[in-house]
């Protein structure tokens, strides 16, 4: 590995100071003054058909500009998922519809001169509903009498198992070897069901979008989105506005975590501005964010794992049922990742099966969320591995070490399972999982702490889990970059990649600076504007460092070659004889500074603009790996526990910016701890969300999180930019299973349903005592 000067060095984010100082940066900061205020009328029923909707009284309120209902839109079925095209999500959504499928679903939209007027108008819209029987329990959704999507004009883009008449959004199945035979011949089999909840993203910036018609008569949207290019395409296809007439700008985004991969509000605001010609803006209330955007797919996972007496895992069988809520966004792909980015962890099996259904319910739709199925699958598998170890009377670390995937190994699953389609065969050219486990044991002093130490009623225990994720979606999602040389020898880096707070603008600038042998302050970054930057699929699927980073690296190489050629011309030398150190070109005795060259190219001699654009699409998706270790102190009288430390040892290849990579891991871990321990979605019997504010939905605060220990394994991924893999999601995966295992190690009860609350622990302890 060559010594680097920009990459793999700690440096602050390029935008941290301006953001801290409160400069205008986020979508709503940039709304046009005097924008119409957009408000959405939302369904009070979990399932209903709109018999009649009357907007006359509402429209008569002075200051109301426009009201749109389902009668005002052409029925163009689409998916808001924000994925590449054709999407693996069913086209089952209309801009507005005469059916409403969950409490919070869109009924009508009002634009008015101010918020008060808009809200007054909302209250005056008269809607006559035929209230229908909802499906709220996802385990009863398949073949229910209630059909959530009875309409005929919806479709899948290619076979995904879409069968709306059965309330099925997607289905998947795969098998390697003969799993039934393998399990029946195994010495030991553990079997258990696990349940995960509908976690909410809770990014601090609510979903927001504003639109205007610019002086070129084009529709310009500012949107807090992870996927500006997909937003533009989906708006064009659905609203039948020419693609060339739409510009989508992604300003600074206040967190996404997958929740802003899809369109939320863009469709309605675009329609309003396009029809009225007037600027308009919509910011979701926090209640709307909870009730009417996205959640994580709730799942039930039935696991069976077989092993020989001496601890060789022979087979894994997983049936899953996933709840996609009212619309099928990311239904298939999240479900596939539950298998494809979890099961290859134990690659030495004789047989493996993964199958199941993704069903519609009358609940808030599920969508993309950091971890994207892998966290659900990880909770089930890594809990079950500890159960298997106990049944084998084997140390759970030893069981993992004996069976987990190692460098240069592979799994047949990589080739079979992709995201929505078949996958891509690959060897683990970089996999330091064995080191991650070993180092984690040292850091946590595992041998002295496992399984528990007891002090009267308080018990200290440890638990762990291993995980993998991916680096982009090979052969599907492309990233591109343009680099421009300016006079005075500095550069513009223009990227479609969407910084949503994770720091991609900074790390992509580091990659460009490394290749151009300059410093980050000489790279001015502009990202995510469908008019001004090249394409990028967006910030999802752990793509940016690996996919967009490779694009930046290629573009920078190209620009450097162009610069060398120009320098050779000026210096009358052969391009092959030119040396360059980032500021000066040399050829034998001659020297030419980059500043002089760039100034001459602008003003004096054979003037031209040097610009290089290149793009990258992955041919594989090298997984980052991680071992996560939790230490807790549990009070067996109350079931309450405190998290004393969470230790992460991560292989994400070379870290482009070690501190930002650490931030990705620690942020992911804490979001995973939230899912493991605190966060839950509660609904009334009629399907109304109870946990619809930050008072009732508990995310971790400084009170719960005291200590995090994070280290990176030395690792180099040959196909990544400067040896990097992606790091955005891997941190979230391990906490649920690690906590479940630690609770078991403390008090001998297995909590198989998230979140793991003191109440569940205490009830399980009592149940166990009653049995004894």
């Amino acid at each position: 590995m060559k010594k680097t000067r920009q990459v793999n060095h700690e440096m602050p984010s390029i935008d941290g100071k301006g953001i801290m100082m409160g400069r205008p940066a986020y979508t709503d900061d940039l709304a046009q003054e005097g924008s119409l205020i957009v408000k959405v009328l939302r369904s009070p029923h979990a399932f209903a058909r709109i018999r009649r909707i009357d907007t006359e009284k509402a429209a008569a309120v002075p200051g109301v500009e426009i009201i749109l209902t389902h009668n005002d839109f052409k029925r163009n079925a689409h998916t808001r998922a924000g994925q590449g095209y054709p999407e693996p999500s069913p086209h089952d959504k209309f801009p507005l519809d005469h059916y409403v499928r969950y409490i919070g679903d869109e009924v009508a939209v009002v634009a008015a001169t101010d918020e008060e007027t808009a809200l007054k108008a909302l209250a005056l819209i008269e809607t006559d509903y035929e209230v229908l029987e909802p499906v709220l329990d996802f385990e009863k959704a398949l073949d229910n009498q209630t059909i959530i999507h009875p309409e005929e004009d919806i479709h899948e883009m290619f076979p995904i198992g879409f069968n709306p008449k059965k309330n099925r959004a997607a289905a998947y199945g795969m098998e390697v070897g003969d799993i039934d035979k393998t399990l029946s011949e195994s010495d030991v089999v553990v079997e258990s069901s696990f349940r995960t909840q509908s976690q909410a993203h809770v990014m601090l910036e609510p979903h927001t979008v504003n639109a205007r018609i610019d002086y070129h008569d084009r529709l310009v949207l500012y949107s807090a989105t992870q996927t500006p290019f997909h937003v533009r395409r989906i708006l064009s296809q659905t609203l039948e506005i020419p693609l060339s007439k739409i510009r989508v700008i992604k300003p600074r985004v206040g967190g996404g975590f997958g929740g802003k991969q899809a369109l939320h509000g863009e469709m309605l605001v675009a329609a309003i501005t396009y029809r009225t010609g007037k600027p308009a803006k919509l910011t979701y209330t926090r209640k709307e964010v909870f009730e009417a955007t996205y959640t994580r797919h709730r799942m039930r996972l039935d696991m069976k794992i077989g092993a020989t007496k001496d601890g060789r895992i022979t087979g894994i069988d997983c049936y899953g049922l996933s709840d996609t809520g009212a619309y099928g966004e990311h239904a298939l792909t999240v479900f596939m990742v539950t298998g494809s980015k979890v099961l290859p962890l134990y690659n030495k099996v004789d047989a493996v099966r993964f199958k199941g259904d993704v069903v519609y319910t009358n609940r808030t739709p599920a969508g993309a969320f950091r971890g994207y199925g892998a966290i659900q699958g990880n909770f089930a598998l890594e809990s079950a591995i500890d159960m298997l170890a106990e049944k084998l009377s084997m140390d759970p670390i030893e069981l993992r070490q004996k069976n987990m995937i190692l460098e240069n190994e592979t799994s047949p699953i990589f080739e079979i399972m992709g995201e929505g389609t078949a996958g891509t065969a690959m060897n683990m050219e970089s996999c330091k999982l064995d080191y991650c486990v070993k180092r984690g044991l040292e850091l946590t002093d595992w041998k002295n702490k496992y399984p528990r130490r007891t002090d009267a009623n308080k018990i200290r225990s440890v638990g762990m889990a291993i995980a993998m994720q991916g680096s982009g979606i090979p052969y599907i999602d492309m990233g591109a970059a343009t680099i421009k040389l300016n006079d005075d020898g500095f550069y513009n880096l223009m990227i479609g990649a969407t910084d949503i707070g994770q720091g991609s603008d900074t790390i992509l600038a580091q990659i460009a600076a490394e290749q151009l042998m300059t410093t980050v302050d000489k790279i001015a970054v502009y990202s995510s504007d469908t008019d001004l930057t090249p394409f990028d699929a967006g910030a999802y699927a752990s793509s940016t460092t690996y996919v967009s980073g490779n694009a930046v690296l290629k573009a920078a190489k190209n620009l450097k070659n162009m610069m060398m050629n120009e320098a050779a011309r000026v210096m009358h030398a052969d391009p092959n004889d030119i040396g360059f150190d980032g500021t000066t070109f040399t050829a034998k005795e001659t020297r030419l500074s980059l500043i002089d060259l760039s100034n001459q190219l602008y003003y004096n001699d054979q003037q031209k603009q040097l610009t290089a654009t290149d793009s990258y699409v992955g041919h594989k998706s090298p997984p980052p790996f991680m071992a996560g270790f939790i230490e807790i102190e549990l009070d067996k009288e109350t079931g309450e526990f405190e998290i004393l430390d969470y230790t992460s040892v991560v292989d994400c290849g070379v870290t482009i910016n070690p501190k930002l990579a650490q931030g990705q891991i620690e942020g992911g871990v804490v979001q995973g701890i939230g899912m493991a321990a605190y966060e839950d979605e509660l609904r009334t019997k009629t399907g109304r969300l109870i946990t619809n504010s930050m008072m009732s939905y508990k995310i971790p605060s400084t009170k719960e999180i005291r200590k995090l220990t994070t280290e990176f394994a030395e690792s180099y991924e040959q196909s990544g930019p400067y040896g990097a893999k992606s790091v955005g999601e891997i941190g979230i995966d391990t906490p649920p299973a690690a906590l479940a295992n630690a609770v078991y190690n403390a008090v001998g009860v297995r909590i198989d349903t998230l979140p793991i609350t003191p109440e569940k622990i205490l009830n399980a302890i009592k149940e166990k005592e009653n049995r004894q």
Binding site: G22, D29, P206, R252, K287, I500, S693, M694
Partner: protein, 150 residues
């Protein structure tokens, strides 16, 4: 109705509605650093200082601010810039949506005088939710800020 406030050191008069919250009054007058994260004073994003005390502006009636000193992050550029540097060192800044509000609370904590330990800082900042950082890097940066000063 009108209110007179001292905003970041300058006398200002704002015309407000009786039920208006301070976050809206400030944003309507281009102080966009004051941002809304929730509507229930739960997240800390919209924090401003009223007479040097951190308050959530999303539930603080503008009428109550009459004749008071209001500080937004625009009023503490030195604190914000220095804190930003320390956040950068720790990798504590991610989406940054909560940073201006957090900077104001750190400023208020600094005014209290003592150099607190990490547990006290965590306690003081418990009202500032962050979904990006995992907090530990933030607390380290804030601790470094308070120690650097003293």
């Amino acid at each position: 109705m009108n209110i007179r406030v001292r905003l970041n050191g300058l006398e200002r008069t704002f015309t407000i509605k009786p039920d208006e919250f301070l976050i809206d009054t400030l944003r309507n007058h281009h102080l966009v650093s004051v941002r809304r994260g929730c509507d229930t004073s739960s997240c800390g994003v919209c924090t401003i200082l009223v007479d040097d005390k951190p308050v959530p502006s999303c539930t603080y009636l503008s009428a109550r601010a009459d004749k008071r000193h209001i500080t937004t992050v625009e009023g503490i550029p030195n604190t914000a810039a220095r804190l930003a540097g320390l956040f950068g060192n720790e990798g504590a800044d991610q989406c940054g949506f909560c940073n201006p509000g957090l900077a104001l609370s750190v400023h208020a904590l600094e005014k209290l005088g003592a150099t607190p330990d990490a547990a006290t800082i965590r306690h003081y900042l418990v009202g500032h939710l962050c979904r990006c950082s995992g907090y530990v890097s933030q607390i380290k940066a804030v601790k470094a800020y308070l120690e650097e000063k003293s």
